[in-house]
């Protein structure tokens, strides 16, 4: 991902994509300077000065050009209008990402799914770290007095936290059963609008 970003930056510095330049290592000096100067890159494929290519090669070059154009087009390259005679550089503006979470209407099935994930994460932490709490506590609280205080006052929360984890466990289990039923027996699939 980072390497592709670096490639995009590199591509944005020059007008022609690097693939097109790589494909023309034997290009002679005058056409090479034309390649780096002009922005209208399409004419260069049918350059009369370059050695003649088979139609397959020409199509291949065009496809690679289009592909790398897509690579660079995905974020930054807001190019000014082509077709002007003089050189026009491409502004490397970062395009914004359209809003997703702040904007999307919360839906029943998506909410159930994310609650399943949250309950799963909660249960994982509770199950894996409760052993740490109960077994390792002895070695810690002999040293810190504030630790004692914390556990004394938070002991009232035990009932609440067990209720919460029971809720999470039951929800996670029900969702898992519903998932199984949906996958194997096609029962309970939400209706399409």
């Amino acid at each position: 991902m980072a390497s592709s970003l670096a490639l995009k930056r590199l591509v944005s510095l020059n007008i022609l994509p690097s693939s097109l330049r790589v494909l023309r290592p034997i290009v002679t000096a005058p056409s090479a300077s034309r390649v780096s100067n002009t922005n209208a890159a399409h004419e260069d494929e049918f350059d009369p000065l370059s050695p003649t290519r088979s139609p397959n090669q020409a199509v291949n070059i065009r496809d690679q050009f289009m592909k790398s154009q897509f690579l660079s087009a995905s974020r930054g390259m807001a190019t000014l209008a082509k077709g002007e005679g003089e050189t026009s550089e491409s502004k490397n503006i970062l395009r914004p990402l359209s809003p997703h979470l702040p904007v999307y209407k919360p839906q029943l099935n998506a909410t159930l799914s994310i609650t399943n994930r949250i309950s799963g994460a909660f249960l994982t932490t509770v199950l894996l770290f409760s052993y740490l709490l109960s077994l390792k506590m002895g070695s810690v609280c002999l040293t810190y007095s504030s630790f004692y205080q914390f556990f004394f006052y938070s002991a009232k929360l035990f009932l609440v936290s067990t209720s919460v984890s029971a809720l999470a466990l039951s929800y996670h289990t029900y969702y898992g059963i519903r998932h199984l039923l949906m996958d194997l027996l096609k029962v309970g699939v939400p209706k399409v609008k």
């Binding site: 991902m1 897509f70 087009a73 995905s74 974020r75 807001a78 502004k91 503006i93 395009r95 914004p96 990402l97 359209s98 809003p99 997703h100 979470l101 904007v103 999307y104 209407k105 839906q107 099935n109 998506a110 799914s113 994310i114 994930r117 998932h179 949906m182 996958d183 699939v189 939400p190 399409v192 609008k193």
Partner: protein
């Protein structure tokens, strides 16, 4: 033009009849039609006969890059068609010509006008404007790079569609050479619910899993088309197609969130097709 001629004629006759030009007499001229003076009266903004609605539309200009904004537009619903696309076109024609959006068929078959309307993805030409005075919020398809205003960059989406090789692939020539490959009605019915996809990208851009992994997860639309070719009885590369998708990211980022089925403007269910692929991976 005719009205002004008639008015000038009537004024000339009234001037001939009365010696002095009297504004009262001009007003008393008989008018069977609404004259120019009436037409120049400024219409009040929200009278009893108008039904104003506010549209909040996402704006961002690459030529003047600043933070994207939501801009308010008020239009009269009585002078506008019923669909959101009608409102957008009216805004572009009358209020702000710089509003940019994609559109083509205006009937829900091309998939160009896909955008997020009031929090749900859909086609603007098929989404009715909600009656009532609440504001309508229009933003582009979620979690896509914005080219301008409501136009997003779909190249990643199209490349994913291309990557599943959406064409018929056979190892053997057709049974009767030179003629079409026969397919029974039952086999053709297996493709119902998949061939209608118009690649509008409403489903893929509604999937939170696609938001967090846009480049590695194929998305509901591409997977629906993958299933369309996997289920096609004429296609002989079924095993290879299943193996191509059998990847932790390409297929299994789907956690059956099923936002895609809610978002599809054509009423398709990509989630069901993805479940079908997963089942085939288990059995076949």
């Amino acid at each position: 033009m005719a009205t002004s001629l008639i008015r000038r004629a009537m004024n000339a006759t009234s001037r001939l009849s009365s010696s002095t030009v009297n504004p009262a007499s001009r007003l008393a001229v008989i008018r069977p039609y609404a004259g120019e003076a009436d037409a120049q009266k400024v219409e009040p903004k929200a009278a009893a006969s108008t039904n104003m609605k506010t549209f909040q539309i996402y704006r961002w200009n690459p030529d003047d890059p600043a933070k994207p904004q939501l801009q308010d537009y008020k239009i009269d619903l009585k002078e506008c068609g019923p669909m959101v696309l009608d409102a957008l076109i009216k805004i572009k024609n009358e209020i702000d010509p710089s509003l940019t959006f994609r559109r083509s068929c205006r009937e829900g078959i091309c998939g160009s006008c896909a955008m997020n309307i009031n929090g749900c993805n859909g086609l603007a030409c098929l989404t009715k404007i909600e009656s009532g005075s609440s504001e309508t919020t229009i933003t582009p398809l979620p979690h896509m790079f914005v080219i301008k205003d409501l136009v997003v960059d779909m190249t990643n989406f199209y490349n994913q569609y291309k990557s599943i090789e959406p064409w018929l692939k056979r190892k053997n020539p057709p049974p009767t050479a030179g003629k079409e490959i026969p397919q029974s009605k039952k086999d053709r019915a297996k493709l119902d619910g998949m061939y209608e996809c118009i690649l509008c990208a409403c489903c893929s851009t509604s999937c939170p899993s696609y938001w967090w992994n846009p480049e590695s997860y194929l998305g509901p639309a591409a997977l629906l088309h993958a299933n369309r070719w996997i289920s096609d009885s004429r296609d002989e590369y079924t095993k290879e197609r299943l193996d191509a998708v059998n990847d932790e990211f390409k297929l299994y980022r789907c956690h059956t969130i099923l936002n895609c089925a809610r978002a599809c403007p054509k009423g398709l269910n990509p989630g069901k097709q993805i479940q079908h692929i997963k089942q085939l991976q288990l059995t076949g």
